[in-house]
């Protein structure tokens, strides 16, 4: 493998997509389909969460099966903030990223001492421990989760309208993708990608491998926390289900479908998966069968994922 390099037409594609995404709520309203604004917001949020996992998995080479824990912690931070009377998104979102990131730092500091299957298992174990912690935490609603009766504000603006929250999610996603894009080509991104490819060699070049991995893992956790906080505000709920291992699995599938280690992999995977779910479910209850076939198809015929079309790894 080599360092990620964007396709030449990436910038043009990004500008066009961004313009379309900005126009989307207007378009949906014009078509009298504004119900889908909420759905579109959900897609953006999962794109963010999957992209954060892609940073850890695709760029850092760490197969984590516990990423939903950080997603869920972000959601609970949002709900706890609401409960505590903190309604300003400029405070809530950084707090969610901070707590999720610190938690990832703790989990990573222990898990990253293991490799391979052991790493997968230990991240899974941490996530499930966190899940049961929230299930049994009465003060935070236990099984039922924790409601957010009124969405946070952002810089004083109300997010009650679905369009407003949509634009906030779009803005956060765009900023994070910009960060990931820069990071991939910066010293840090090259370092973690090289560690993914050959850990021992990097150690022998004098790189403190553990430290770089840990920071990458924590950064991924922090961004997942942002996504969780946005989702809790969208659904008005922080529920323990968000931390379930199945949620980690869903994020993993999104990254694999989209393209592991490709900048847009997480985003593309989230869009494909959620669109499939939304529209297949409408006329076919067992849509997971279609999803399964799709997964097999991708693994067999496009093992690098859909986003492989958008960038390459070879110079």
């Amino acid at each position: 493998m080599a360092f990620y390099r964007p396709a030449r037409w990436q910038n043009a594609a990004v500008i066009v997509s961004l313009a379309m995404l900005i126009a989307l709520p207007e378009l949906l309203t014009a078509l009298d389909q504004s119900y889908y604004t909420g759905f579109a917001t959900r897609v953006l949020i999962f794109a963010l969460a999957a992209s954060s996992l892609n940073l850890v998995l695709g760029f850092g080479g760490m197969v984590s099966l516990g990423h939903a824990a950080f997603f869920g912690v972000g959601a609970y931070v949002a709900a706890i903030c609401y409960d505590a009377g903190i309604h300003e998104g400029l405070l809530v979102l950084p707090l969610a990223a901070l707590f999720a990131g610190l938690f990832a730092l703790l989990v990573g500091a222990i898990s990253l001492r293991t490799r391979g299957v052991y790493f997968i298992m230990i991240t899974l174990a941490f996530a499930q421990m966190t899940y049961y912690l929230f299930v049994s935490a009465r003060a935070w609603g236990g099984d039922d989760g924790m409601p957010i009766y009124e969405r946070m504000r952002f810089a004083g603006f109300s997010l009650l309208a679905d369009e407003a929250l949509y634009y906030l999610a779009l803005g956060v996603l765009a900023l994070c993708m910009l960060l990931f894009a820069r990071l991939a080509g910066a010293r840090f991104g090259r370092t973690v990608q090289a560690i993914r490819d050959n850990e021992t060699r990097m150690e022998a070049l004098g790189y403190p491998v553990f430290r770089y991995r840990l920071v990458c893992f924590a950064l991924g956790g922090a961004v997942a926390g942002l996504a969780g906080a946005l989702l809790a505000n969208l659904t008005g709920m922080a529920s323990p289900n968000l931390l379930q291992w199945t949620q980690s699995g869903t994020l993993l599938v999104m990254v694999i479908v989209g393209g592991v280690g490709y900048l847009w992999g997480g985003l593309v995977g989230a869009v494909v998966l959620l669109l499939l779910e939304e529209f297949l479910l409408a006329w076919f209850e067992h849509w997971h069968i279609v999803l399964g076939l799709l997964l097999i198809g991708i693994v067999l015929f496009a093992p690098r994922g859909v986003a492989a079309l958008f960038g390459k790894r070879h110079g």
Binding site: R182, L183, A194, R201, M202, E203
Partner: protein, 251 residues
């Protein structure tokens, strides 16, 4: 020896029932080329792994540049000034030769932190200028833009060396740099190492006896995990135990 750059004292390591290294005392003086030879399975690579920090000894200590490094990790030893090349070529095959060396330059303490998240590396001309200079040193400047995986075996060996050099070591640990190369490439590698030896101390593990006797200032012989002899090339050549244990009629 007062001016020993590397000093290994009473190093022992057991793998299950096998004594891989037994009470090895060994030193490399600053500025010399010290060759470590021995039959297959004698423990040479195991020894290099202990010096570089990939493995930890059961007992004994390792001192480098006046400081004990026995408990330092591999990357800490690299930062202290020890670099190694691998017996089996170990380069980033999917990246260009230049990127491979730039990565090595970037890892050096004086190149600054790699916790930089924004500025593209390709804009850091200094890294690549320096990387190019190291490629030139090993004669690979024309291959800078080629993927490392597409270089010939000999070129990959040279690239491996350029990466080790780019960490600007005081001590270079070369684990069979001639392994698998043809006679022509070997000759070029010998020339290259001869050239490098003017600037850096070298611990050389090698099977090619012509190369060893041409390059080495001193030679140590490892047999079954024991160091049986250390001396000038002529002394080693004459040593009865060495001849019996290993060299036979090669000399």
């Amino acid at each position: 020896m007062a001016d020993a750059l590397l000093e290994v004292r009473a190093l022992s390591r057991r793998f299950a029932a096998v004594d891989a290294l037994q009470d090895v005392n060994f030193s490399v003086a600053a500025g010399e080329v010290h060759a470590l030879i021995g039959p297959n399975g004698a423990g040479k690579t195991t020894f290099i792994h202990h010096v570089s920090g990939a493995l930890r000894p059961d007992s004994g200590s390792i001192h480098f540049a006046g400081r004990e490094v026995t408990h330092l990790s591999m990357h800490e030893r690299v930062r202290a000034g020890m670099a190694r090349s691998y017996q089996i070529t170990n380069v980033f095959a999917g990246q260009t030769a230049l990127d491979n060396v730039a990565l090595a330059v970037q890892g050096r303490p004086d190149a600054g932190s790699s916790f930089r998240f924004w500025r593209p590396v390709v804009a850091e001309r200094r890294l690549f200028d320096e990387a190019r200079a190291f490629l030139e040193q090993v004669g690979l400047d024309d291959q800078a833009g080629q993927l490392a995986g597409q270089l010939s075996h000999g070129e990959q060996r040279a690239l491996e060396l350029a990466m080790a050099l780019a960490t600007q070591p005081q001590l270079l640990l070369l684990d069979e740099p001639m392994a698998g190369t043809g006679p022509e490439e070997s000759a070029r590698m010998v020339e290259l190492i001869e050239h490098l030896a003017r600037h850096v101390t070298i611990l050389l593990v090698e099977h090619d006896m012509d190369a060893v006797f041409r390059l080495a200032d001193r030679i140590s012989v490892l047999v079954n995990g024991r160091l049986i002899c250390t001396g000038l090339p002529d002394e080693v050549r004459q040593d009865a135990e060495v001849r019996r244990a290993y060299l036979g009629d090669h000399l």
